[in-house]
Amino acid sequence: MPGPLTATNDFVVKFANVNGSGSASANSLFARSILRMGVPVAARNIFPSNIQGLPTWYEVRVCEEGWLGRRGGVDLMVAMNPQTWDRDVAEIEPGGYLFYDSTRPIPESRFRGDVTVLGVPLTRLTNAAYSDPRQRQLFKNIIYVGALAFLLRIDTVEIERLLAEQFESKPKLIPANVEALKMGWDWARENLQPLGLQVRRADKVGDRIFVEGNYAAALGAVYGGATVCAWYPITPSTSLAEAFTEHCQALRLDADGQANFAIVQAEDEIASIGMVVGAGWNGARAFTCTSGPGVSLMQEFIGLSYFAEIPAVIFDVQRGGPSTGMPTRTQQSDILLAAYASHGDTKHPLLLPMDPAECFEMGAAAFDLADRLQSTVFVMLDLDIGMNDWLTEPFRWDDARRLDRGKVMTAGMLEAGADFGRYKDVDGDGIPFRTYPGTHPSKGAYFTRGTSRDPYARYSEEGAVYQANMLRLLKKFHTARDLVPAPVTRAAAAPTPLGVIYYGSTTPAMDEALAELAGDGVHIDAMRVRAFPFPDSVYEFIAAHGRVFVVEQNRDAQLRTLLINEGEIDPSRLTAVLHFEGAPITARFIIDRISALLAAPEREAAE
C-alpha cells in the first residue's frame, strides 16, 4: 500500500457539492487564493442542468509547471455531497486524501483504507456559531476553505484580501467571512496535521488573468464594435449575453446615460438571428450567442446571410449533442453544423479560440471579418472555455487599431458616379460593395432577397446568372482564407514523420501531452488550427507528415472530416483521436491514445 501522497504545487483537489448550496463562490475563493500565491491553477465546474439539489463538482488543478488542462484523477476529495459519496470516494488516487463533514457518523465500510481521511465537523461548528439557515449554509463553505487553507498551507492573508475585494461594496460582510475562515483554520490546526500536499509561494502566474471565455468573448464584442445583440437563453451561452449587457452598461453609455447599444432577449433563436441579420443589413454590428440547438434553429437565416451577403456574428458555445444532449457538458461537436449551415451550397468562416484571451481577440475580429466578407462568421467556443475561469493572457488592445467596415459605398462615392452593382465583383476578390439603407436620395437603393439575382440585384432565374453568382461566392470564401487567423505551428525537438492537428479547448491538454510524449522520446510536430477556411499551410503540414493525428472532442471526427472534404485529403493520412464523454479532454487521455495508436499495427490504427 502506498503512503500518503506528497506533492508541492502539483496536485488535484475536487469539491463535490450540492448545487444551489452557495459552494461556487467558496470554491472559487479557494482557487484564487492559490493564484494569488503565484501558483497557476486550472479550475473547472462540472454541473447539472438544474438549479438546486443535484450534484455539482469543482475541480482545481494546482500546477506550478503551468499545465492548464484537466489532469485526470483526484488527490484530495472534498466530499460535501452524501448523494455522490461512494463514487467520489472511489475516484481518489491511492494514497490520496478524503476531506468530509464528520458531524454525523459514516459507517467504516464506506471509507477506503488507502486514503487519508480528514473529518471536520463542519455542520456542528456552523450550527454552534450561526442560527440563520442561509448563513449556516454559506459560512459552512467558508469554514471548509479555512480548514483546507491550514491543511494545504495556503496563506490566509491572500484569502482575506480576496474577501475584502469581493465584498468591497458590502463591507459589513467582510469580518463575518473572515471569522468563519478563521474558525475552520483554527479547528484544523487544533485537530489535524498539514497534508503531504502543499501550496508554496511561487512566481509563475505573471500578469495573467483568471476569467471565463464567455465574459471575454462578450468584451471582445464590445471592442469589436457590436451594437446589437439579440439572443435567447441557452446553456452554456447565456452568460455571454449577460456579460455583454454588463460590459455595455459599464463601457457604452454616452454622456447623457443613453445606450450606444441595443440588447433584445428574443422569443427564440430564429428571431435572434433574424434581428442580427436585420441589423447587419442596416449597417450595425450585430451578434447572437447560442449553442448547438440554437444553431440548428438558425439554419434558414444563416443561408440568407450567406446568399444575400449580410454580415452576422454567431458565438456558438458548444455543448454535448445531439438533440438536447448533455446541456452542461462540453464538446466540439458543432463544427460541421456551423461550417456548412443551411440548405444548398453554403460555407461559413469559423474562428476557433483556444482560451479566453483568444475569445476576446477573435470576438472582436469576428465583426471585422463579417463586415469584410458580408457573411455569417462563427466564433466556436465550448462549455469548457465559455463557462470556466481560465488562467489566460491579459486582454490587449492596440489603440491605433480601427474597425474595418468592409466595402461600403457611401453617398459621396455614389455622387461621384461610382457604378453600384450590389453583387458585382469589382476587385476580383469576390466581395461586392454594399450600401446602407438611406444612403442617398436617388442612388444606391437595391432590393435584398434570398432568391437568385444578377450583379445589379435584379431578380433572375437564368442559369448562367445564378451559376456566376454561386462561383463568385466561392471565390469570396477563398478570399477568406487569407483574412482569418493563421494556424499556429510548433515543431518537435527532433525531425519526425508524426504530426498532430488540434484546436480550441483541447489546447492546454495537448500542450502537456506533447511535452510528456517528447520526454518519452515521441516527437510530434503540432499545428493548432485557428479558423476555417483552412489556408494552404494546413494542407502543406498534412503533406509533410507521414501520419497526422487529429485530436478533437466529438464522436465523428468533425474537423478531420472537414479537412478531408475541403483539402481532398486521403482519409488514411489522418488518424482520429476522439474524446467525447462530456468532461474536458485530458493530457493523460491523449498520451494513452496516441501511444496505443503508435504501438498498434498501422492498419488498425488507421481505423
Binding site: 464590445v222 447599444f261 433584445v264 428571431a271 450595425a284 432590393f447
Partner: protein, 351 residues
C-alpha cells in the same frame, strides 16, 4: 413581369408634392401579380400615402416575408431599400433593422400565411415589443403562390375554390394586435383605396407598433361564392366605424364637420388624425371597448373596418431600451471601442 422595363415617362403636368416628386417617383417595378389582385391596390395606396406625406423615398425601408404579398415591396417605392426576407420572419429582421437605425421609417408588408401561420410568433413579439413600424398584412385567407390552400385567417365554414370547407377557427389579427399592445390598429379593404390610404399615412406617422389588416381578395383562388374574403362578400359585410383624414402638422385645420361627429388625435410628430364617426358610439381611443366591439360585430358576420384604435402617447422599443439618439449604425470607433486604458482596468480586476 420584372424583366419588362417600366416606362419612365409621364405626363409633364403630373402633380408634384412638397419635395417636388410626382406620384410616379414612388412607384416600383411592374407587378407580377395576377390582373385584378387586391395586393396591387394596396401597393397603389402605399404609393399614394408616401406621395401625400412628402416622404423622401430613401428614408423608408420596406421589408417583407415570403408569399404573394411579400413580393409587393418590389412594386412600390423603387428608390427605397427593400428586403424580401424569409417566410414568416420579417418581424425579426425589421426589428433588427430598426435597432440599427432608428431614423428610418420601417414598412413591413406581409400576408396572412406569412404572419398568421408560420410567422404568428414573430408577428406577436414584434407587436408586443412596440417596434416603431407600419405593419401591413395583405389578408386574403389563402396561400396564393402555392395555389389556393386555406390560411389561418380563413373563416370557419368558408369554402375553397375546389369546394372544400374550412373547419378550423380563424385567427383575427386585429384582435391579436390589440391584445398584444399595438398602439395603432386599423383594418382596411383593398377595394376601398380612399379609406386605406389615410390608414397607411397614419400608420407611417405613428410612433410605435402600427398594424393594418387589409382584406385583399385573391382573384385567382378566393373570390368565389362561399368565400368570406371575396370582393362581393367583403363589400356586403364591410362596416366602417369611421373615416380617417390625416393632417400634417403644417397644414391648417378646417373645422367643417358637425359637432360631435369628429374626433381629433394629435400624434407625436404633430400630425392630426381626424376621425369622422360612422358608428356613433365607437371610440378609437378605448382598447378594451374596441376589442369587445370587434368580437360583437364579428359574431354578427360583419367585417369592421377603419381606424380601430390609436394611442397618441405611445412609446417604442427604443424608448424602452434607452437607446441614444444617434443611430447605432452611425457610431464610430471612438463611441464603440473603449480603448486600452479601460482594458487595463478590467485586466486588473481579474487577477
Amino acid at each position: 413581369m420584372t424583366y419588362i422595363a417600366k416606362p419612365q415617362f409621364h405626363h409633364p403636368e403630373l402633380p408634384r408634392n412638397a419635395l417636388g416628386f410626382t406620384r410616379r417617383d414612388y412607384e416600383g417595378r411592374v407587378s407580377t401579380l395576377c390582373a385584378g389582385c387586391g395586393h396591387d391596390s394596396i401597393s397603389a395606396a402605399i404609393v399614394q400615402a408616401a406621395f401625400e406625406l412628402d416622404l423622401e423615398p430613401h428614408r423608408l425601408a420596406k421589408l417583407s416575408g415570403i408569399g404573394c404579398s411579400s413580393k409587393t415591396p418590389d412594386y412600390f417605392l423603387g428608390a427605397s431599400h427593400g428586403f424580401n426576407t424569409v417566410h414568416g420572419r420579417m418581424p425579426s429582421v425589421l426589428t433588427g433593422a430598426n435597432l440599427a437605425n432608428r431614423d428610418l421609417i420601417y414598412l413591413g408588408v406581409s400576408g396572412d400565411g406569412d404572419s398568421a401561420s408560420i410567422g404568428l410568433g414573430q408577428f406577436a413579439h414584434a407587436i408586443r415589443r412596440g417596434v416603431n413600424m407600419a405593419y401591413i398584412v395583405e389578408n386574403n385567407g389563402v396561400y396564393g403562390l402555392t395555389k389556393g390552400q386555406f390560411s389561418a385567417t380563413a373563416d370557419a365554414g368558408s369554402k375553397s375554390k375546389r369546394g372544400i370547407v374550412n373547419h378550423d377557427n380563424p385567427i383575427d389579427m386585429v384582435s391579436l394586435a390589440l391584445q398584444l399592445g399595438a398602439s395603432y390598429v386599423g383594418r382596411g379593404f383593398s377595394g376601398d383605396k380612399s379609406q386605406l390610404t389615410p390608414l397607411i399615412k397614419g400608420a407611417i406617422l405613428h410612433k410605435g407598433a402600427a398594424f393594418i389588416d387589409v382584406i385583399s381578395p385573391c382573384v385567382a383562388f378566393n373570390n368565389h361564392p362561399g368565400s368570406t374574403k371575396s370582393f362581393d362578400y367583403v363589400r356586403e359585410h364591410n362596416e366602417a366605424v369611421n373615416r380617417l383624414d390625416v393632417i400634417l402638422g403644417r397644414t391648417p385645420i378646417h373645422a367643417d364637420y358637425e359637432p360631435g361627429t369628429v374626433a381629433e388625435v394629435t400624434q407625436h410628430d404633430g400630425s392630426v388624425l381626424k376621425l369622422r364617426k360612422l358608428a356613433a358610439d365607437y371610440d378609437a381611443s378605448d382598447r378594451n371597448r374596441a376589442m369587445a366591439y370587434l368580437q360583437e360585430r364579428q359574431s354578427a358576420g360583419e367585417i369592421v373596418t377603419g381606424l380601430l384604435y390609436v394611442d397618441p402617447d405611445s412609446s417604442d422599443l427604443h424608448d424602452h431600451l434607452h437607446t441614444a439618439a444617434t443611430p447605432l449604425n452611425r457610431l464610430g470607433d471612438a463611441e464603440l471601442t473603449p480603448g486600452s486604458g479601460a482594458l487595463d482596468a478590467i485586466n486588473a480586476s481579474l487577477r
